[in-house]
């Protein structure tokens, strides 16, 4: 029943997002993808479930069965795959990390904070000291109980080694982390940091809690699965953790096998010939083939694949050019051509599911005459520009091609330069003048910290606006959520009117799962397969 509720929450209309219209619904159900909508949407539309699509919601209502082997066929892995709790890079790493370790806090299905190993995370009055109370009775895979010392060890490991999460934890005074008792940690910060829990939730896949003395060669965590074997770039196997602390949902399967596939073709072949039970990150073109052999899971997530314009380089030094480029985009057409209409339209502001997101800002639509006049005013008529694209995420190259087409209408020549992913993230990464990128979902202010401040490690638009910077400092010093939301709205207004990102849509994640796999639910954080929630899956 919990699954029904989850699915209803994910698929059903909420106050924060456009509801699924009748036309969309018909299109989804026509493609047999009504599963994503689940029972709630079906009832709301007053129609019966299409007979062609098997609704997992009804089947999942049965009692989960223990046992069996779940085989996940995932793309995105490389020879540099890792089991290290804090050094994950690609989504196959995250799939393994989420299975082996637990963070203090993560996202629920709706991308809202959900406490995991922490029982509470509370700030002092000015958010300079946070106190984390741990869930009691949690043990690591080796039997050692979880204590405050492990949390201190984990944070120190991340910060001193400059691992990916270090930038989110930079203002923590790691030398002064203190265990108040066996299950309570005190986290002092150099400056107010009201968004610490949001940052920890958003980057939870970088912050698995590991035991003191952790050695990644013997990857011990508190997660739902225990390590058995691992070959980078090929495969990894795990067994169920029978002593998992959170027994509310799983883990159910005895064994989890994760196989890296080099591309979507072999991945889909594996699924269709019955060698993989769940597959991730499909493109719209694979849907019919996967559907013939199983089910499709479409998640309208908040991950993003923006176009990035460097505001410190011509022609983008002129905000009118940036605005013109945003007005060039026919967003529904992009979404239609790349994802067959799946996903959500974007408004050039990230983090749409954050309660701090301003939904009152009007949706930007294509306006070629306006774009032309802005370009003319900026003296950039007949502009010719290079757009660097790579196969960074589902649809990035395709949407670059669509943008080039649409730009032609405004007299802008876009020359596509397609590079390999390795080259894209090579020495020119974060230096491209006009390029793309992908981001998993994060709440607004943590995303700002990563991407749009002069000190951000990934400031790909080279955004440095003094008013914006000042607002951010104010926001993270504001503990009161209402007051903080007001500040965030001011910042979003700046993003919307002069920012360096074009966010035409939030891409959907499209996954496949075999007919006998139950307990699969969509999430909104941009990660596949319910944020690789293998613990909830079971085999009918």
């Amino acid at each position: 029943m919990a699954d029904d509720l989850h699915r209803a929450l994910v698929g059903g209309p909420t106050a924060q997002e456009p509801t699924i219209g009748r036309r969309d619904f018909l299109r989804y159900s026509g493609m047999g993808a009504a599963v994503i909508g689940g029972a709630a949407v079906l009832t709301a539309c007053g129609s019966s479930a299409p007979s062609s699509s098997t609704s997992p919601a009804s089947a999942a209502a049965g009692k989960p069965k223990i046992g069996g082997t779940l085989r996940a066929g995932l793309t995105g892995g490389t020879g540099s795959d890792t089991l290290d709790a804090h050094q994950g890079v690609n989504n196959v790493d995250f799939a393994r990390i989420i299975s082996l370790y637990d963070p203090l806090i993560a996202f629920d299905l709706n991308a809202q904070n959900q406490l995991r190993l922490a029982e509470s995370i509370t700030p002092n009055s000015d958010a300079t000291v946070w106190t984390v109370r741990l869930h009691p009775g949690v043990t690591f895979h080796n039997g050692k109980p979880l204590t405050a010392e492990d949390v201190i060890y984990t944070f120190t490991r991340i910060i001193t080694n400059n691992y990916p999460a270090a930038s989110s934890l930079a203002s923590i005074e790691y030398k002064n982390l203190k265990a108040l008792d066996a299950l309570t940690v005190q986290i002092p910060c150099r400056s107010p940091y009201a968004t610490l829990p949001d940052a920890m939730a958003g980057y939870n896949y970088y912050m698995g809690i590991v035991p003191v003395g952790y050695d990644p060669k013997n990857p011990v965590g508190t997660g739902p699965f225990k390590y058995r074997s691992f070959t980078p770039g090929e495969q990894s196997t795990f067994v169920r953790n029978d002593h998992y602390w959170d027994s509310s949902a799983g883990p159910y399967v005895d064994t989890l096998v994760i196989t890296d596939y080099p591309d979507e073709t072999s991945q889909v072949n594996a699924f269709v010939s019955g060698q993989a039970d769940v597959v991730n990150l499909l493109s719209a073109t694979s849907i019919p083939q996967v559907q013939a052999a199983g089910n499709i899971l479409t998640a309208a997530g908040g991950g993003m694949t923006p176009f990035t314009m460097r505001v410190d380089q011509p022609p983008f030094t002129d905000a009118r050019v940036r605005q013109a480029f945003r007005l060039i985009c026919d967003r529904p057409q992009m979404q239609d051509l790349v994802f067959g209409g799946r996903g959500t339209i974007g408004n050039d502001i990230f983090s749409p599911f954050d309660p701090e997101f301003d939904h009152s800002i009007p949706q930007r639509t294509q306006d070629i005459p306006q774009a032309k006049s802005l370009l003319k005013a900026a003296g950039q008529e007949g502009l010719s520009i290079e757009l660097v694209t790579a196969d960074l995420a589902q649809g990035t190259i395709k949407v670059a091609e669509v943008f080039a087409q649409q730009a032609a209408a405004a007299g802008v020549t876009v020359n596509l330069r397609q590079v390999t992913v390795t080259e894209f993230y090579g020495s020119n990464y974060l230096k491209w003048v006009f390029a793309q990128d992908y981001w998993y979902y994060s709440k607004y202010l943590p995303q700002v910290a990563q991407a749009t401040l002069p000190v951000s490690p990934f400031n790909e638009t080279h955004w440095d606006d003094s008013a914006y910077n000042k607002l951010y400092s104010q926001a993270i010093a504001t503990v009161d959520p209402v007051a903080r939301t007001a500040i965030a709205h001011e910042m979003q207004q700046i993003d919307y009117s002069i920012g360096g990102y074009i966010i035409p849509y939030f891409p959907p994640t499209i996954d496949g799962y075999a007919k006998n796999v139950q307990g699969v639910a969509a999430t909104k954080d941009g990660l596949s397969l319910g944020s690789y929630n293998f613990k909830a899956m079971w085999l009918a």
Binding site: V89, N162, S229, S266, N269, A270, V419, T422, Y429
Partner: protein, 342 residues
């Protein structure tokens, strides 16, 4: 022209080669020496080529996480901040002392990563090579004796058609036929895995069927066409005519008189096909997600993992050198008049 000429021919060769050793030993000796030089040059070229690729192991490993400070930290840890010559020397001196080094991508010893892949690829190449050779030679002889009959035409046309298909097309076609669309009788991918980890290829032979079949289909036409032409030529020769007129059975004429003369040129083609297999497995392994060195090389290049790239390329280059020596020796043995030192 019978098999027992071999010992007779060797005697005059040894007697005639006073200053030089036996031609075959001489060939093996010089070719091996040249091969070692080749490998050294290859290692330099590969290292230089990896330096020209955009990005390095640090940016490749970090990917989307490649912020300036993270790249700097990792470059220090991996020693990528050292001059290129120093890096090459570190690698070379390690190899000369029998140490292949550790992967830049994941820190594991190169041998641990490549060893199992090497075995997997060897199984694939050996099986495909053997089956392809037997099929190609057999079909070639069959077509030669059925020259200009329907069976010959059918074989010639169909092999010509297959020759024009790249191996990945053949592979995908096989998958569509046997795994995903028409029938579902064979595994469509071959990741060689079980619930407890990686397995050896022979533990699940069904996973070998399609990759081997794809490679066999690609190499058979070349061997077939050469064998057919060579057999036809031999069948038209005077000595075969003589044998026939002497009333020997057709089978004996074919196997004892025509075959030994037709096989010599075919051996060169078979050798070339083995060499092709060493490269052709890259694409086939990719299509089937088969964990061999081809797939390992693709991964290593995209990770800029120089020690792994170096080792795999050297193994492939060594395979080329050894295969060339072996084919030359075999075709020398099959051509008695060339065995004599001049």
């Amino acid at each position: 022209m019978t098999a027992d000429t071999t010992p007779k021919a060797r005697a005059p060769a040894e007697a005639g080669a006073r200053r030089r050793s036996h031609p075959i030993a001489w060939l093996i000796w010089t070719r091996t020496a040249l091969g070692v030089v080749t490998l050294f040059v290859v290692s330099i070229l590969i290292f230089a080529a990896t330096q020209l690729l955009p990005g390095n192991a640090a940016t490749a490993v970090l990917g989307h996480n490649a912020s300036a400070s993270a790249v700097h930290t990792l470059e220090l840890r991996l020693g990528l901040n050292k001059p290129a010559l120093t890096q090459y020397w570190d690698w070379l001196s390690g190899v000369l002392r029998g140490r292949l080094g550790t992967s830049l991508a994941n820190g594991q010893p190169v041998w641990t990563l490549v060893g199992p892949r090497l075995l997997n690829s060897l199984v694939l190449v050996a099986l495909a090579g053997l089956i392809g050779t037997v099929l190609g030679v057999g079909l070639g002889m069959f077509a030669a004796i059925r020259r200009d009959k329907p069976a010959d035409h059918a074989l010639s046309v169909s092999t010509l058609a297959v020759t024009s298909l790249p191996e990945f097309v053949v592979a995908i076609f096989l998958v569509i036929l046997f795994s995903t669309v028409l029938w579902h009788i064979l595994p469509g991918v071959s990741p060689l895995e079980s619930t407890s980890g990686a397995i050896e290829p022979w533990q699940d032979p069904t996973e070998l069927v399609l990759p081997v079949a794809a490679l066999v289909i690609v190499i058979v036409p070349y061997i077939f066409r050469m064998m057919r032409a060579a057999t036809i030529e031999a069948l038209e020769s005077d000595y075969v005519e003589m044998a026939r007129l002497n009333g020997l059975s057709p089978v004996r004429v074919l196997l004892r008189h025509a075959l030994p003369n037709a096989i010599a040129p075919t051996i060169q083609v078979i050798g070339l096909n083995f060499l092709y297999l060493a490269g052709g497995i890259v694409l086939v392994e990719f299509v089937f997600d088969y964990p061999g060195i081809g797939q390992g090389l693709v991964n290593a290049v995209s990770d800029r993992d120089i020690p792994q790239i170096q080792f795999i390329v050297l193994v492939l280059a060594a395979f080329y050198v050894v295969m060339n020596i072996v084919t030359d020796v075999i075709s020398l043995l099959a051509t008695p008049r060339r065995r004599v030192a001049r």
